[in-house]
Subunit: 756 residues, 2 copies
């Protein structure tokens, strides 16, 4: 029987509220009597905090609290490394670091209070880029950081807060086997996730010492634990609820303003809302790290890669944040989706005096892939090979090993490459002067972790899905609900979702890493297995038909010519059987890998990996360097397309974000200050800047995902920079090795000057 | 090992918020942009609605909606009988019936709008009391009511909307065997539950057509279903959340203002709050029915009861409400906790043009028990028997049959009677002129139904209990949490409760009928059975100890000299095992009874019945009739005292309410209008009016309840009227057979005039 609900492009469940403007986001959430919280932020990239005088601010009308470091718990928190504090203590380490927090009856009063706080800084030598951070004798951003708590695996040295490594075979032997060795360097800029809704939180304490925080976090359970550390409370005293999120893209994985709202609310005894501005977002959020990449690749004349040595340095800013994890993941991206017998790959997370960088849709993916896939074309060009053929010679196929020894299954990469190339018209790579086509491919993980759901059949036969995951705009919960509907034999319209409330919903590892539909969908399958037993048991008694003659179909249990509806069974059970309720859990099975190949690696294998190829057709204006995108094709191996239209939406959005990073987006720093902290000067693409994006859904099922599905949300963001760089080179022979590929860089190169 | 948590008088979990005034009740709940809703109520007890003109009201500033019957779905709803409408349509049937609803930006604007609505009534003959309703040719309150939907069992005739009957043996033969036959009549007044917080609801619709209602209902799942009928929506589109309740006592079982708030919010597109006033509460809520009771009892000279014929008529007001159920239950109370071989007992619910009566803590209990236990003393006096000895001769004991044939177990009635009598000093029944002691005893049910819970162990080892039941002020959820803590080997302080949210919590039959601690506690035991398996399995793998050598103790799994804490196991499970979560369900087993003994009975047996005896010592002022209470003793068979102090609180509160009904409370009706609709003239006892109340907890375990517990909340409300009446008779020889037993009635009787 072909599936009724999965595999169909059903409208997403969260659409009506978002389209009509009635959806409530965290930033809309309000409580009666609520105060407005604001942060005073450092004006210096690195300085000693000599004095903070808040007396004048505290005396202003409407001001209910001014907190400095002395007023909040002296706690260091963080993920892999506990190097952060709520407010700067003694020293500031980046422009934008919170120094004081204010709560007042109006936003204007809060802003007036910020202006009235006097801060005296004594500037210290600042470390403003990777080179300065890595230079011998560089000032240490955290002098005492060897004493901070950290996960044991962390490899730390100087301003390097982590180094992860993959070693396979012997690269020197591999280079010896090569006919040609290619060395290239690349750089990528720091970019912001560009979510529509700024970070927001409302906190309210009750008399039992419990705090409820309404936040637009992607990870309510993670925020609950972080708040527990910061507030010095048991996690069970902290309820985190996500009313709605206007985009996250990884930028809302870590604590935003939740702790500030909670501390101000605790001090004032009133609910407090904190909401960031665009300027705060662009100077003091968790953007994607800028990087430097060095690749050395050995290749035979025939185009077989024999060895690769690669290093990527992430400018992680003043705190480690997700740097150690991102540096680790990067090594798997540096390997590329290729069979290479000898590898030496290193990822470094490096402190500088900038904002603390974080996770952005496929963290490390676009940066590392830009280098890897640019170099693939550069090598192919140098060897006189067709870039597609060169890739096809080296890519991984079903049953091959990944770089760390995992056995790859459901590998649709060749199909992706061939179909993307066919769709873009690869046979005619340079159809006109100044016009060219580029290809890039890659692989990515479906993040594991566990998800639990409660599923309840209502007395009208509809179904309540209760999940700890938040719908962050990806339609992932629609996908999970489709899986639930399919398994239960009901319609998607029958499913109602309650989500992301640490007190009311079961644990979920959270809306991150392309895992939500995959993991929550699987948890739903587990719950339905239980419900099916309950339903069939009840129906058997009710119909007088043996249980093994019964099945779930069309909102009923049917068999032996008899039928009882889910609604009837739910009413029966509610009256005398406790209701039809089940708890289902999915636990991602571990991915086996060869531990001898990795060192200090926090993410040594890709779980249920996906494969993808992107192709672009563009023109370059030889005079201005301006790039015009004509067509963009994505062939993505999604395993199984639970909701094709929703996946196409993810592909379109991911490509748009990737093209922004490829062409125009950059947080421009000078002397430790962001020069373009506004949405006029920080240039994200609009609909008018984008070509038509065509999606080809390739389906090589994964063994673990529901119906074979793989994670689909992050991948579309990975390949656009490399695809564009390769197409620009094809069009006008200019190879830009730094992101973004601005018109200025292309024009300078075309005019014979060095690209910056 | 003696229990660590259950059986101990631990402070209730909801106390801090309530004591410090920071708890949020439904009436405190507010949303930004919220409108204020109000109801226009009928001024006539029975009339044709000739015309409603709302044009002037709609034009007033701040008024956002005025709804009349024409604007709301034409739906009849109700419990056993669907005879109610949201707003009166064509005809009003009691003073206070809603005629129109208004939403405005302020409460004042809403009140102004009510005043501006013009209503023209054409009065109809009204049926103002039971006698008028039952008189031949009486006007029918519902002319077409035979066509209304109803449960099939309902027995309807004239203005009688239900009659339930118990027939055992042959009363005429029983009377023939008797030496004396006693006939008495009693009356009781209509009384209000006296909860502190008026009924309140806030409703808010979202763009997906889903409505969330924050209400102080005792039964969120029942209200969800009722709203589904009224709003003509699937229940799954309706989320009911109980933020907190300031008392219910059965008065908040049925729909209050939730539907009005939801309809006004749907019309205006804004959140709406509706909150009743004291006047609305005392004229148009769900008070306890006034009754008339007739008893005919045959007794041998030696004091053995041979037969009893009894009838009780409930004045249920203009709609059936809980009348059919209450009339049914009443017959079991009329039987009394006595072995009587021949019974003919009938309960009638009768329509009149008064407010629709409902359920009040032990519905029918005080009224029927007042008659039964007054008569027991009257018979004992007439036969020259000691009332205690007369009762002991006739009471049920372990293994006896109840009136409908259920086999009684855990029967602690004799112990209750003997200990209450001993404590009050029964040997000296008339210690001084004008001073006397009275006894009364009874039995009551523990309502069944099902309860589900989710239980989750947090990563700090604390425990989240997720229940669909609301904490209505009885400490029942504290009791359930104690059971959970005991079973899991943690402390009560480790348990956090999320409750009463139809979307976030599993189904629960609700906070009614003394069932919450009993049923939710049992559901917790089921959940822990599952969690224990999970914990021991995980710990066995972790410790390398066989599962059967492990046990839960002191927040850990221990065995073979090893130990792993719940916190460690929860973190382990959250990291890789989906978290420690279980769903537990309790389903009350059916109570077997003899179906041949009942007719049209909706409640034919008492589930896990409790037994109780009350004794009071009081003085009567012979001049004024004023009654002074000296001591009050309750001996209650609670099965097992999960939290003795909380049960004592229930006993003290229940006795206080019972004494109010015994001595002073009455909704005084004249011409269909309540004459005392305010808290000055409706006289509830204050702390100063009450004697010291002493509790004796008798513990004959029930087979079903957790640790043997029985329902404890309702019973203390049952016996006070009879105990007081018997003590007054003992003190001054005056037998008052109508409630309340006011000083005026006593004084008139003492002066030789007929008691009214």
């Amino acid at each position: 029987m072909s599936p009724r609900v999965v595999g169909h492009s059903l409208p997403r469940m969260d659409a009506p509220g978002k389209v009509t403007g009635t959806a409530v986001y965290a930033s809309d959430f309000a409580l009666p009597g609520m105060l407005h919280g604001k942060l005073l932020r450092s004006r210096e990239p690195h300085a000693r905090l000599v004095r903070i005088d808040a007396a004048r601010a505290r005396a202003l009308p409407g001001v209910r609290a001014v907190l400095t470091a002395a007023d909040v718990p002296d706690v260091r928190y963080g993920g892999a490394l506990k190097d952060e504090t709520v407010l700067a203590r003694d020293r500031v380490r980046y422009v934008g670091q919170p120094v004081a927090a204010v709560a007042a009856t109006t936003r204007e009063a809060a802003e007036a209070a910020l202006a009235a706080i006097e801060v005296v800084y004594e500037p210290l030598p600042a470390v403003l880029d990777l080179e300065a951070a890595l230079a011998p004798g560089a000032p240490l951003i955290h002098e005492a950081w060897a004493t901070y708590a950290a996960i044991p695996i962390l490899h730390r040295e100087g301003n390097v807060c982590h180094r992860a490594r993959i070693v396979v075979g012997d690269v020197e032997r591999g280079f010896a086997e090569a006919d040609r060795i290619f060395e290239h360097r690349f750089r990528t800029a720091m970019v912001h996730q560009g979510y529509t809704e700024p970070r927001a939180a409302v906190a309210s304490w009750d008399s039992s010492g419990q705090v409820t925080v309404w936040s637009n976090t992607q990870l309510p359970f993670e925020i609950q634990n972080t708040l527990a550390e910061i507030l010095e409370l048991a996690p069970s005293k902290i309820r985190v609820i996500v009313p709605g999120i206007g985009g996250g893209f990884g930028g809302k994985l870590r604590i935003g303003v939740e702790h500030v709202a909670a501390l101000l609310a605790r001090r004032t005894g009133r609910p407090v809302r904190v909401l960031t501005t665009s300027e705060e977002e662009l100077t003091a959020a968790y953007p994607r790290q800028g990087t430097r990449v060095e690749l050395r690749t050995g290749v035979t004349r025939a185009g077989r890669i024999t060895a690769k040595e690669g290093r990527i340095w992430f400018d992680t800013g003043a705190f480690a944040g997700s740097g150690p994890g991102v540096a680790s993941v990067a090594t798997l991206v540096l390997a590329g989706p290729y069979k290479i017998p000898n590898l030496l790959l290193e990822g470094y997370a490096v402190y500088t005096n900038k904002t603390n960088c974080g996770s952005f849709r496929a963290p490390s993916g676009p940066q590392a892939n830009f280098a890897v896939e640019s170099q693939m074309d550069m090598i192919a060009d140098a060897l006189g090979l067709d870039p597609l053929e060169f890739r096809l010679q080296n890519i991984v196929r079903e049953g091959d090993e990944g770089p760390t020894g995992q056995v790859l299954a459901g590998v649709g990469l060749e199909e992706c490459l061939r179909r993307a190339a066919a769709a873009i018209g690869w046979d005619d790579r340079r159809p006109a002067p100044g016009r060219g086509k580029g290809l890039a491919c890659g692989w990515w993980t479906t993040t594991g972790g566990s998800s639990g759901v409660y599923v309840k059949i209502n007395p009208d036969g509809t179904v309540a899905l209760n999940t700890g995951a938040a719908e962050i705009g990806t339609a992932a919960l629609t996908g999970a609900a489709q899986v639930l509907a399919e398994e239960l034999g009901v319609d998607l319209a029958d499913i109602g979702v309650v989500s992301a409330d640490t007190f009311a919903t079961p644990f979920d590892f959270g809306a991150q890493g392309s895992r939500t539909a995959f993991a929550v969908g699987n948890a739903c399958r587990a719950a339905v297995a239980d419900l099916r037993r309950q339903l069939v048991g009840l129906a058997a008694a009710q119909l007088g038909v043996p249980a093994d003659a019964l099945e779930l179909r069309d909102k009923a249990v049917v068999g032996a010519g008899k039928r009882v509806t889910l609604a009837e069974l739910a009413r029966l059970s509610q009256a005398s059987g406790g209701g039809l309720i089940a708890h289902g859990t999915f636990i991602a099975p571990p991915t086996a890998y060869d531990a001898k190949r990795v060192e200090a690696h926090v993410y040594p294998a890709f779980h249920s990996p996906s494969f993808h190829a992107h192709a672009v057709d563009l023109s370059v204006d030889r005079e201005t360097g301006e790039i015009t995108l004509h067509r963009y094709v994505v062939a993505q191996d999604v395993g199984f397309a639970v909701n094709p239209a929703a996946i196409e939406g993810q592909i379109e959005g991911g490509v748009a974000q990737g093209l922004g990073q490829a062409l125009s987006e950059e947080l421009v720093y000078a002397e430790g200050r962001v020069l373009n902290p506004n949405l006029t000067d920080y240039k994200m693409p609009t609909a008018l800047d984008l070509p038509r994006i065509e999606s080809i859904l390739v389906q090589h099922p994964s063994a673990v995902g529901p119906y074979g599905a793989k994670g689909v949300g992050e991948p579309p963001n990975i390949e656009p920079p490399a695809a564009v760089a390769n197409a620009v080179a094809a069009a006008v022979g200019v190879r830009v090795t730094t992101l973004p590929i601005t018109a200025e860089k292309v024009a300078l190169a075309l005019s014979g000057e060095t690209a910056p």
